[in-house]
Symmetry: C3
Subunit: 353 residues, 3 copies
């Protein structure tokens, strides 16, 4: 890290991110904390982010997202003493190699990016944490109950489908192979379909304060699964539409207070496991994504090792953030605050990788 | 406009509106900006608005809403140097003639009221804007797919129904004629039923700053369509209930950031088209109401040319408003701010019609 | 009450509650108002609430919740000049005898706790208030329409079921007897299944200001009824799952402004009736829980005579609270504010029982 920070003017640190996902929240928060802000933006979106130039000190326009790792962009970032904040579009946009290799300090745990990009490694990390997870099945077998099939590289929920028999799974996977979405059925992940309601719990681990904070919760708003249920039954039955799970937005949620110790403990377990297996362990924001069943038990079917889009709901603070901070504290701002606190204590290497 | 403002004391401008829809937000915002506040209120509701007398400088009680255009009420408004803020109940309550003819300055584009009151003109304006819209069909024809049928004058979603064949459309319309809701089937509008999720995006165009702001987004909470889906399938099937779409409230929403450039562009297109066809074009708040499908494509099935009730969610600011303003900025307050800014710059005629 | 306050140091009043439900909100609000804070917490949760020690002056750890009424805990509470704030877990956790008998002043109407614990007395109080309620049926009879069956002691929505015939009701009740959930079918309450959408409206009655405030509204997020609707129809039909109503969280809601006078009037009627039948009548927060149908008519199927978990959404104020208060005002803070106002006016006996 000390090499990575070579030539950096620590008094003029700049928060940098790709112009997408939660970037407006991130620059808004950085500005509140008095840090510089930089957006890497593609040409087709530059006009839009121009609207928010009062929040952005510098925009670096690129032809393709992968240009993040070009010499020109890296130089621009390093000149600005930039700290990169990865978000949900980061690896998707620039690719895993660029994401893990870019010679610019990253706020967060760089080694987690590769785990997150691999569905199976991801579930494995959750299971090792001792967090309750759904059962997994080999793509061919009959689970004897409904399952959800997740294709690798499915982005934002697209490419998921629900099946109620092994035969249905195979039929769906064959179609996916035919469409070219996957090259072999074995690439898919087949999980028990959890009956209950989904909840996405946002956490922030502060290495500086050595404190895990719950920063919010949300429910994803997905097309068309959240729309189909509004169709008259006879029309829906007639059309025989299978739901899809494309995330188009987020709805705010608070959990029953009696669930908080449970989700907090799951967050702690996950943190602990990343410390053991991927030292120094998670830094900053992450999310556990679960289903809560009729007995109010939670099972976690996925995690995000960085800021999630659901935090965009809480640009002015969440019902949870106000329990920790007596001022509006978005996760974007919380990131910048952590960088500032780390700088003040000469501990930047504890939050950057 | 200079005639309309004759006799006005510009130092004591008053924001006036009908006591309904978003009026509490509007007077709350006006008070924050130091403007006067006036509510026109019917006798049966006066006791309720009395609870908020700390926000209301003057209440003008009327027997019927249409009395807005009576000599007495117009005099009271003009004496108070009032600027009328139209909202979703405005035309519905006072009628189109009074709404467009009332000799009191209106904040917003007065000529848009007539377009908004006519379902067909409304869709036409959207189409001319180059915003993607659902397909329309003549009431008799068979669309070959599910459609939603909208009766003219249907208020707050009442009187909509879904049909899956031309025959069903006709049967529904015949019933509507029998009930006296319409006089002829040809009055109805038949639109492709868009499969996906609904989203209502709130905009504010500031003529003073020449800036289009996204001020929020919401999902409508509708009875009984949002309730039927909670019934056990066998009970719902047994009852054979057709959903209705009466709006009873609103739920907050944030959109995926990658959708923002798209909705922003649609907002710009709509603004541009109103400038060309209804000069000087839209002023202040409006809303595009769309369905987002599984490919995350948006089609707009309706617009509102004024403040929408969904903005009531954001009385203390929205996740979007904080990107523009470093203080709580509801749309009600934004309206008052625009009036204040216009007054300071001697440009009231740019925001009043 | 004067006896109850004997030995109390009124300058050092402490807000005390059980560490669950809305306790974080309650201590957060008390701290904002400069009052002391105390949590009674079970051993297994103490570590969690430890995270919020910056909000909690004193934690009294107990083995079982019922120890609230032990000499040790009562002494600790009285030493701290504690005012107990009951919430939705209060009676459930400590039992009715302890709840109504604990020799510590309670913020709220103590005599309402017993009414709230008895499903039939609860509905009776609503009916006496002249608030529209669903029809009730004897457990054996055939209602001729879908009904919802509520088992006594069903907590957080567990143990409710929907039935569409008298025979189904009986079958469900027989099962409940067999499971040991009830000892006889006659214990259950059978209510008309209201078709529409649910809404939970939060109120606060201030004896000090003699003012009823609307403080918010929410929709409950329930497992698995809110999840089943997301399953593909064929899978749902195949599984034949009956929905359950376990509350796992809350979603924010604003109501159409035209519904506010209606819900406000219902709140007033309820307040008036508690004044007549349970003097001095309701104090502080309560909630009316209703279904709004396609004609936008509201029927109330339940009430809560104390703070509800839905208020946790509004730790930094709600769209309604800002109409009354020009600062963030959660219901937790509102309680503390009322205690403070009462103390300043020497009127504590008007808010404590």
């Amino acid at each position: 890290m000390s090499e990575m920070l070579e030539g950096y003017d620590l008094d003029r640190l700049t928060i940098a991110t790709l112009a997408s996902h939660s970037s407006l929240q991130i620059v808004h928060g950085a500005r509140k904390e008095g840090l510089g802000t930089l957006l890497v933006v593609t040409e087709d979106r530059a006009w839009f982010y121009e609207q928010f130039k009062h929040l952005v000190d510098r925009a670096v326009v690129v032809e393709r997202w992968r240009d993040l790792c070009s010499e020109r962009v890296v130089r621009a970032l390093r000149e600005s003493s930039a700290v990169l904040v990865p978000h949900g579009s980061f690896v998707e946009y620039v690719g895993l190699d660029c994401a893990t290799g870019v010679p610019v300090p990253i706020f967060g745990l760089r080694s987690l990016l590769a785990v997150e990009a691999d569905q199976h490694a991801k579930m494995e990390l959750l299971r090792k944490s001792g967090v309750p997870t759904p059962e997994s099945f080999p793509p061919g077998s009959d689970a004897g109950r409904p399952v959800i099939v997740k294709l690798p590289g499915a982005k934002g929920g697209r490419g998921y489908f629900v099946a109620s028999s092994g035969r249905e799974v195979l039929r769906g996977l064959e179609e996916a192979v035919r469409r070219g979405d996957i090259s072999s059925a074995s690439e898919a992940m087949v999980q028990e379909y959890l009956v209950g309601v989904t909840a996405y719990v946002h956490y922030f681990y502060s290495p500086v304060l050595d404190r895990l904070e719950i920063t919010g919760a949300d429910v994803r708003y997905e097309s068309d699964v959240d729309g189909l249920r509004r169709m008259p039954l006879r029309v829906l039955a007639e059309l025989g539409l299978e739901p899809t799970f494309t995330v188009v937005g987020n709805l705010p949620l608070v959990l029953r207070e009696s669930l908080l110790p449970v989700v907090y403990e799951y967050g702690m377990r996950f943190l602990k496991t990343t410390r053991e297996l991927l030292p120094p362990g998670i830094i900053g924001p992450f999310c556990l994504e679960g289903v809560i069943d009729r007995e109010a038990r939670i099972r976690v079917f996925e995690f995000s090792g960085r800021i999630v889009a659901g935090t965009n709901l809480y640009l002015d603070g969440s019902p949870y953030s106000y329990l920790y901070w007596d001022e509006p504290m978005s996760v974007g701002r919380r990131i910048a605050r952590e960088v500032r606190l780390a700088r003040e204590r000469g501990a930047l290497e504890r939050v950057l990788t």
